[in-house]
Amino acid sequence: MSFLIEVNNKNIGARSGETILDVMKREGINVPTLCYIKDRFPSGSCRMCVVENTKTGRLVTACSTPVDEGMKIQTHSPRVIESRKTIVELLLSNHPDDCLYCVRNKNCELQDLSEELQVRERRIKGEKNKIHIDRSGASLVRDPDKCILCGRCVRICEEVMGVACIDFIDRGSKSFIGTAFDKSINTSSCVNCGQCIMVCPTGALSEKSHFTELISMLNNPEKTVVVQYAPSISVSLAEEFNMPPGIDINNVLNGALRKVGFKYVFDTTFAADLTIMEEAAELIDRVKNGGKLPMITSCCPGWVKFAEEFYPDMLPNLSTCKSPQQMLGAVIKSHWAEEKGAKPEDIYSVSIMPCTAKKFEAQREEMTSMGISDVDAVLTTRELGQLIRMYGIDINQIAPETNDSPLGFRSSAGKLFGATGGVMEAAIRTAYHMLTGEELVRFRIEPLRGMKGCKEASIDVNGLNLKVAVVNGLANARILLDIVKRGEKELHFIEVMACPGGCINGGGQHIGASEEAVMARMKALYDIDDKETVKVSHKNPEIIKLYESFLGKPLGRKSHKLLHTDYTKRDVLL
C-alpha cells in the first residue's frame, strides 16, 4: 500500500513495510547511520539515525521505524542535530583521539560524523579504554580501544560469513568486542576473510601490514623482488585513486609496480589458468575413477580454513590444488628461479591480493618448501594504493606496460576467477575440452554469473550431466554443504568463495565501496572475457609451454609436488 508522509514540510510517497530510512535513501535525504547494515535487519542500537516525529514529538530511529500514513518527520531539526551531535560526543568521550596515527585517517566514519556535526571541543570526558591491541592474527589487527561498539563486525561475521568468532563481551561501559574467553584471534575460528574490516567504521579493525619488511627488501641489492597480482586487482585498484569503479587499469598497474621497484611483474591470472588445468584434470579423474564427490574448490583460503574447522569430514572433498597465489609462488621459487639462475632464498616474492586471508595462506606451513615460503609478503589492494602514493607515483601519468613473461600471459577464463562463479566457469570450459576434445559452443554460463549467494547449473558433457553449484558468503556455503551432507542434493563440483560476490568484494579491497561498485568490477571482468580471444586456460600458450618444458602433464609427479597440497582438521573454539 502506498501513501504520503510529510518529510521536512514536503509530501513524499512511501509504501507500507518501508522504514523511514528506506524512504530517505530513495529521496536522497542523507540521514547518518552507524550500526545500520544494508539489507540486514536493523538493530537500532547506535541511535545515530534519529529523526523527529513532529506529530508525536518523539525522536525515533529512522533505520528501525516503519513509515505510517500521514507521518510528519523532520530529519535535520535543531533537536535532531543536537541529539546526533551528543551521540558523537559520547562516542568520542573514550576514544583514543590519535587520528593522525590511525590507519583509517581520512577514511573514518567517526571522523566524518564529527566533522559534519561540527564537534569542535571535548565536552564529555570519559575514561579512555585500555584494551590491548591483538596482533596475533596473520591477517587481522584488532585495536578495541578504537571500537565504538556499532556491532557491524559481529553481525557480518555471524550472518554473512557464518563464522561467529566474535561477539560483545561483558556489559555496560565495560563492553568490548572479543572472542570466546577473550582469547587472541589467532586461536579462534576466525577465517581471516577481512569482511569485518570492510564494515568497521573506525580503525578498530585493519589488516596486518608487511610494509616495513617489503620496503627494506626493495632496497636490498641482494634480493630480487618479484610481484604477482590477483585477477581482480586490475579492475578494483582504480577506486583507491578516486576513479570510478569498474575501470581496468592492468597495464598502468604494471608500470606502477615497476616504478615502485619490483624487478619482475607477474600476473596471478596465469596461475589461475594453471589451477584450472590441474583442477579440471582432478575433477575428471574423480568422476571417472569413483573419487570423492562433489569436489569442492580450494582456491579461497578463507573457505579452506572454514572447512578445516567446521567441515573436517568434508576435507576429502576439497580439491588438492593450491590456490593460484601459491601455485605461482611455488613455480617462481623453483622452475623460474632455476631458469634465471637465481637462488630461491634470494628471491623476495610479493603478491597483491584483494584478500586478507591470503596473508594467512602464505604463512601456512604447507606453503613452504625447505623452510622457504613460496610467497613472502601479501599486500591488499588498499596497501598497494598506499604504497603507490608513498612512492609519489601519479597513477594518471603512468605509461602502460606489459607484464613479464613467462608467467605473465593469461586467458580471460583465468580473469573470471575474480568473481563468484568464475572459477567454475573457467573449469567447465577446460574440463569439457579435456573430456571431449572439443570446445564448448557457448563459453558463457549465464546461471553461474551475478551476485546471487547460491547458483546452480548443469552442463551436458558427452552424455554426462555435470551438476555444479556456486556459493559465495560462507553462511551460504554452510546452507549448501548441510544439504549435500544430508544427501538431499547430488552435485559433481562446488565452487566456494568466502566473500560475498567473490574476490572483487574481498576483505582487502577498497573500503566504502557500494554494491554497485562491486557489480561494476564484476562487469569489467565479464567485458574482458567478452572481448578477448584466448578464452580458455588450456589455450594459454605459456601454460602449454610450462607443461611441455617442465611440468609434464596435469596431476603428474611434478605438479603433485609443487601445485597440490593437503588439509588438516583444526582444533579451535567453535
Binding site: D167, R171, T179, A180
Partner: protein, 163 residues
C-alpha cells in the same frame, strides 16, 4: 573421584549428564544450562562451554558473550577460600567499594577471578541479607562484619596462615 578417569573426563561426564536433560539446539535454555554447569563445576570451564556450544548449536563466542553479561557466572574455579563482597545498598552506603578495592589490591585479582595459587577467589554479590553487619564480606560462608579497608589485611592473612 571415579576410578581411572582424569579430572577433565569426570567433568565432561557431569556436563553431559546436565546436557542430556535439555533438548538439542534449543538456545533459549542457555542460561539454565550454564547455571546447572556452574552449580556442579563451580565455574564455566572452556571445555564445558564447548560441550554446551555443541549441544545447543550455538557459537562459543555467543555463549561467552551472554555469560559475561551476567555477574553470576565465573570462568575460573573457586579458590580454597571464596570471598563474597556484599555490594547491597547498606554495604554500598557504608563503604563496600573501599573494601572491595582493598581486597582486590591485597589478593591482586578482580571480581570473578581466582588467585594463581588457588587460595582465594573473589565475587561481588548483591545483598546477602546481613545489612546489620554492613559492610559485610563472607568467606566460605563465614561472615565478617563491619569490615573496613584497614581490617582486610588481617582477615586475609588469617586465612593465609591456615594455608
Amino acid at each position: 573421584m571415579e576410578k581411572n578417569k582424569t579430572t577433565g573426563e569426570v567433568m565432561e561426564t557431569r556436563v553431559r549428564e546436565i546436557l542430556d536433560r535439555y533438548p538439542e539446539g534449543r538456545t533459549e535454555n542457555l542460561i539454565p544450562v550454564l547455571q546447572d554447569v556452574q552449580d556442579v563445576d563451580g565455574y564455566l570451564s572452556e571445555e564445558s562451554v564447548v560441550e554446551v556450544s555443541r549441544h545447543l548449536n550455538m557459537p562459543a563466542s555467543k555463549i561467552y558473550g551472554v555469560a559475561t553479561f551476567y555477574n553470576q557466572f565465573r570462568f575460573a574455579p573457586l579458590g580454597k577460600y571464596h570471598i563474597q563482597v556484599c555490594c547491597g545498598t547498606a554495604c554500598h552506603v557504608l563503604g563496600a567499594a573501599t573494601v572491595l578495592d582493598e581486597i582486590q589490591k591485597n589478593i591482586r585479582v578482580k571480581s570473578g577471578e581466582t588467585t594463581k595459587d588457588g587460595l582465594f577467589s573473589l565475587e561481588v554479590v548483591a545483598c546477602i541479607g546481613a545489612c546489620g553487619l554492613a559492610p559485610v564480606i563472607s568467606i566460605n560462608g563465614n561472615f565478617h562484619a563491619k569490615v573496613t579497608g584497614g581490617s582486610i589485611k588481617e582477615i586475609l592473612d588469617n586465612y593465609r596462615n591456615q594455608g
